[in-house]
Every structure is written in structure tokens, then in C-alpha cells.
Amino acid sequence: MNTQQRVLDVRVIPPREKHPTIFSTFASLAPGEAFVLVNDHDPRPLRYQFEFEHTGKFGWEYLEQGPAVWRVQISRTA
């Protein structure tokens, strides 16, 4: 098992449960840790929510941007 990378693929999570699961996963991270979010569209609204709820405490880096899959590394910075 790869112990280096946490991957949360939300494509199989029912729509209303996606954001709570993403924030719950983020809350489990220690500062300096990260996970890779996988989705079938650009999760831009999620980023706005992060900026509102976790201002200055998260990192957001696109690893892949479509056309079928978006991968974003979300890290906990503080």
C-alpha cells in the first residue's frame, strides 16, 4: 500500500455528501499533510468554500485539469 498519498475520489460519493466528506477528511489532516481530491469537474465552488471557512489554512494545487478528471492536492498549512 502506498503510504505517501491519500486520494479521495468523490466521483462515487452522492452529491449531498461530497463536501461534508471533503471537509471531514481535511479536518483529519495534521498541519503539513495533504490529500488528492479527484472529481469529474473543476471543483471551483469547493475552493471558494475553503477560502471562506479555512482562510489561510489550506493549500490548493491543481495536478490535473480535465477533460475527464480533475485532481487537486489540498493541503493543511496550519
Binding site: M1, Q5, V7, L8, D9, P14, S28, A68
Partner: protein, 229 residues
């Protein structure tokens, strides 16, 4: 984690079509339900191409009569056999071990709550493919129990997902995905229809049928990989 597709989602599709469909949908893994007489070179032909982004992760079979042939197929492809038996757990363990004794790599197909199979399978020293369906009331908790007992999960199948995702609310899929993510699960998560009655919506989701429009959309979606004959 590699999200993947079971060929049960499109039983009449060729391997080439399944691979192209996975690539188009951004699915990294493919599990094939195999048929008697399948030869390794047929699989190699389908997966031998440039720019391949889809990996074959398992060969699902319910054949308990030809263990030597399955072992040979597994050896020549390097892909594990996933043995799904109709009998009880003990029978499945015995048949899976037979394939391994013939030199093949095999995993036992197990379904449902971990408490029903985990100890027996682990005590038998077998690898397993965990099939998560409606009989799992707490798949996230089960994942944590499996991880606690074995230290790792190597293969997960999910009945539902794909076009059924929106109907899976409250089934515990979200806690399962969270548990797998936090455990840095890197194996396949194979999507398969929860029932054959959903075959049409799966077919549409996979781009194998047109919608209710003029019918040209599916044809205009060109595969992202080229298949060499």
C-alpha cells in the same frame, strides 16, 4: 486509489471497447469477467498500445472446475484471478487455494460485513477482493476493521457508483471513501452495477447509447486511446 470499471457494466462490450470507455470516463482500472477459453494473448492485444492509461486489475471468474487453466492464465498475464464461488466461505477458500497451489495468483471474492468473513480469510492466508453492496450497513467501519486486522486493503468492488451514485445517499459510501483515503489506499475501486435492471443507465453513462436526442452524441465522442489490432 484507482477508480475502475467492471465489465459487468457492459457484458456485451469487447475488451477494446471497455478500455476506450474507461479512458473516456477517466477510469484507471478495468476488471474483466472472463469466459472459458480466454487466452492471455487476447488480453495482451487489447492492452498493448501506446498512451495506455487503463490497467487491468483483476480477472473475475466463477469457474471452480478448471483451477489449473485459471492459474495458467493468471501466470501468463500477471493479473490475479478473483474467484467468486456460489458455495459457502469454506468452499471458496478451498478453490482459491487450489489456484494458488497451481502457481497462479488468486483472490477470494468476499461480500458483505467484514465480521462474516474476515477472520476465516485472513487465517487461511488468502488475499481477497471485498465486494461492498447493500449487505454492508457500515462499509466505512468495515474498512477500518479490515485495516486494523490486516494492515491493508488491496482490492475493493463497489456495487453502485457510476450512474447510480445519486441514489446511494445514506448507504455509507462517503465514510468508506474517507476511510480508504486516510489509509492511503492505492488499490482499485471497481464499480459494478448493483442490479441488472440498471443496465440501460449504465450503458448510457458509459457512452454506449445515445440519449433521447438525435443519437449522434455517443458516436461523436472519440476514444482518447487508440487501439492497435
Amino acid at each position: 486509489m484507482q477508480l475502475g470499471l467492471s465489465s459487468d457494466a457492459a457484458p456485451d462490450a469487447s475488451v477494446d471497447e471497455l478500455v476506450a470507455t474507461c479512458a473516456r470516463r477517466g477510469l484507471a482500472a478495468l476488471e474483466l469477467t472472463i469466459w472459458p477459453g480466454l487466452h492471455a494473448d487476447q488480453l495482451f492485444r487489447s492492452f498493448d498500445r501506446q498512451g495506455d492509461t487503463v490497467r487491468l486489475t483483476g480477472l473475475l471468474s466463477d469457474d471452480t472446475l478448471h483451477a489449473q487453466r485459471l492459474a495458467s492464465l493468471s501466470r501468463s498475464t500477471g493479473i490475479p484471478i478473483i474467484l467468486q464461488t456460489a458455495g459457502d466461505l469454506h468452499t471458496g477458500i478451498r478453490h482459491t487455494r487450489t489456484i494458488i497451489d497451481y502457481g497462479g495468483e488468486a483472490r477470494l471474492f468476499v461480500r458483505g460485513p467484514a465480521e462474516q468473513w474476515l477472520d476465516q480469510v485472513v487465517n487461511a492466508g488468502l488475499k481477497f477482493a471485498w465486494h461492498v453492496d447493500d449487505s454492508c450497513s457500515d462499509p466505512g467501519g468495515d474498512a477500518e476493521r479490515i485495516l486494523q486486522r490486516t494492515g491493508e486493503i488491496e482490492y475493493v468492488r463497489l456495487a453502485g457508483g457510476g450512474p447510480e451514485t445519486a441514489t446511494q445517499e445514506g448507504r455509507g459510501i462517503a465514510p468508506l471513501m474517507r476511510a480508504l483515503a486516510l489509509a492511503s489506499y492505492s488499490g482499485p475501486l471497481i464499480l459494478t452495477p448493483s442490479s441488472s435492471k440498471y443496465r440501460v443507465i449504465w450503458s448510457t453513462w458509459l457512452g454506449r447509447r445515445g440519449g433521447w436526442g438525435c443519437g449522434s452524441k455517443a458516436e461523436s465522442e472519440r476514444p482518447m486511446v487508440s487501439i492497435q489490432p
